[in-house]
């Protein structure tokens, strides 16, 4: 008996009604729509973050200025006195280039109290010492380039 009923149902091609099928379609469209919405939102949020970080990085770099107060070279030791003369703090020294040789992350100290610091705030003065190798020839002028943590570079010339 049951088998007969099942065969009859399979033979009936009218199946699901139009209302049900529409509901299923709408549900599918809404589901896909939400997926697309979430995906779009994630994408735009990622874009916003990337673009915002890029703009912030550029503006911070723009606002960086470093003044060379004094550069002293004696007995193989070079001391560079700096001032953060820009309008942004947290200026660190990533690397120093002298005579085609580079020196990474020199130890920075504050001019006011000789305390070690990782960066200079706006208007703060500091200094670092390095021992150029090979030693610099006396009576010569050398260019020195410092590159900050944000990627700005500042150049000065000093005499030995």
């Amino acid at each position: 008996m049951k088998l007969m009923k099942t065969l009859n149902l399979l033979k009936n091609r009218r199946g699901v009604s139009a209302v049900i099928s529409n509901l299923i379609l709408i549900a599918a469209v809404i589901a896909v729509g939400f997926v697309v919405l979430v995906w779009s939102q994630t994408q735009s949020s990622n874009y916003n973050n990337l673009y915002g970080n890029a703009i912030k990085s550029d503006t911070d770099q723009l606002r960086e200025r470093v003044a060379f107060e004094y550069i002293h070279y004696e007995t193989g030791n070079l001391t560079v006195y700096l001032m953060n003369s820009g309008t942004i703090g947290d200026v660190s020294i990533a690397s120093v280039y002298i005579n085609n040789a580079s020196y990474a992350s020199p130890s920075l100290r504050l001019l006011s109290d000789n305390a070690q610091t990782s960066s200079l705030n706006a208007t703060q003065e500091g200094y670092f010492s390095i021992s150029p190798s090979p030693t610099l020839a006396p009576g010569m002028n050398y260019p020195i380039t410092i590159v900050t943590g944000r990627g700005s570079s500042f150049v000065a010339t000093f005499a030995t």
């Binding site: 697309v36 550029d58 606002r63 200025r65 001032m83 309008t87």
Partner: protein, 326 residues
């Protein structure tokens, strides 16, 4: 339709946000350009001399003038001993100069500790808050230039006629301290800060009075001048109708204008005037050499400077102010 609206609102939000970020970037560029422009427009003229008086300290004296359109701050002073290649600095100077203003540098506020510096040549420079380096005005008197081409505007030079003398007197720094007694005070007598002294051109006859004058040597050969006793201020005035001569002699005063001076009448005294460096010199007395000068009249005061210029003897008479005697 709903999806299209959502997409439009999303795109609009991203567009507006990008626009605001671009505006932020443009503002930063504008501010940075302005800061760079301000930095390049900063113009401070340092008419200073660098001297070591005691071998361990180097003094920077003179004036700083802001000739730029903006106010400026001077943060740090650097001094280098050119002979020994040693150097020192003084930070946190905290000198603020409005446009056109002049500040006078003297005393320990612009000195640095630099050992074994006597007789050496120096260079010095200042650092401004905007990061500019201010070197000594080459027309004034750099370390190796001993002939000055411009005088500080606040001094009046006594050599109005060539050959009369080389000492300048600063009218703005003429003060006197009038005691209430005609007797000489004991040593370490408290005179207080200079701001409490009288700046008038009147005093009372017969009282023990201390005169504060600021003298500057403009010796073209840049030698140091030594002012010694019997240098004095003198007045030729009427004493009951008879012309007599009264003096206020060079006197030992210690301390400084801000924290206060102390008078030491019996201590030895000598004032050292380095080239182009204003120095406070004190004279004291009752002016009773010829008895009481007639009151109610004005008299001309003169400074008799006597001492050494380098190693040679030097003497000069400086007519400087007129004083009313009550």
């Amino acid at each position: 339709m709903f999806s299209v609206l959502i997409m439009i609102s999303l795109i609009s939000a991203v567009f507006v946000w990008s626009l605001s970020e671009n505006t932020r970037y443009n503002n930063s560029v504008r501010q940075t350009n302005q800061a760079d422009l301000d930095r390049s427009n900063e113009r401070i003229v340092a008419n200073v001399t660098v001297r070591s008086l005691d071998g361990n300290n180097v003094y920077v004296n003179g004036t700083l003038q802001n000739e730029g359109p903006l106010s400026a701050q001077i943060t740090t002073l650097w001094v280098q001993n050119l002979g020994q290649k040693t150097y020192a600095h003084r930070d946190s100077l905290g000198i603020t100069l409005q446009s056109g203003n002049v500040t006078y540098l003297s005393g320990s506020t612009t000195s640095v500790s630099l050992a074994n510096s006597i007789g050496e040549s120096f260079d010095c420079w200042f650092i401004s808050g905007r990061g500019n380096i201010i070197h000594i005005n080459p027309l004034f008197g750099a370390a190796t230039i001993n002939i000055n081409y411009s005088y500080p505007e606040y001094s009046t030079i006594s050599n109005v006629s060539m050959g009369i003398g080389i000492i300048g007197f600063d009218f703005k720094q003429f003060f006197h301290y009038d005691t209430n007694s005609s007797s000489t005070p004991s040593n370490n007598y408290n005179l207080g800060p200079l701001a409490s002294w009288s700046k008038t051109y009147a005093t009372t006859q017969g009282r023990y009075t201390i005169f504060h004058v600021t003298l500057t040597s403009y010796d073209p050969t840049a030698q140091t001048m030594y002012v010694k006793l019997p240098s004095a201020i003198y007045v030729i005035g009427s004493h009951s109708g008879t012309v007599k001569f009264d003096t206020w002699k060079l006197v030992n005063v210690t301390g400084d204008a801000t924290t206060g001076f102390r008078l030491n009448p019996t201590y030895p005294v000598q004032y050292i005037l380095p080239h182009e460096t204003p120095v406070d010199v004190f004279f004291a007395g009752t002016g009773l050499d010829g008895g009481l000068i007639d009151s109610g009249a004005i008299y001309p005061l003169n400074i008799m400077v006597f001492g050494k210029l380098g190693t040679a003897d030097y003497g000069q008479n400086v007519p400087f102010v007129t004083l009313y005697f009550n």
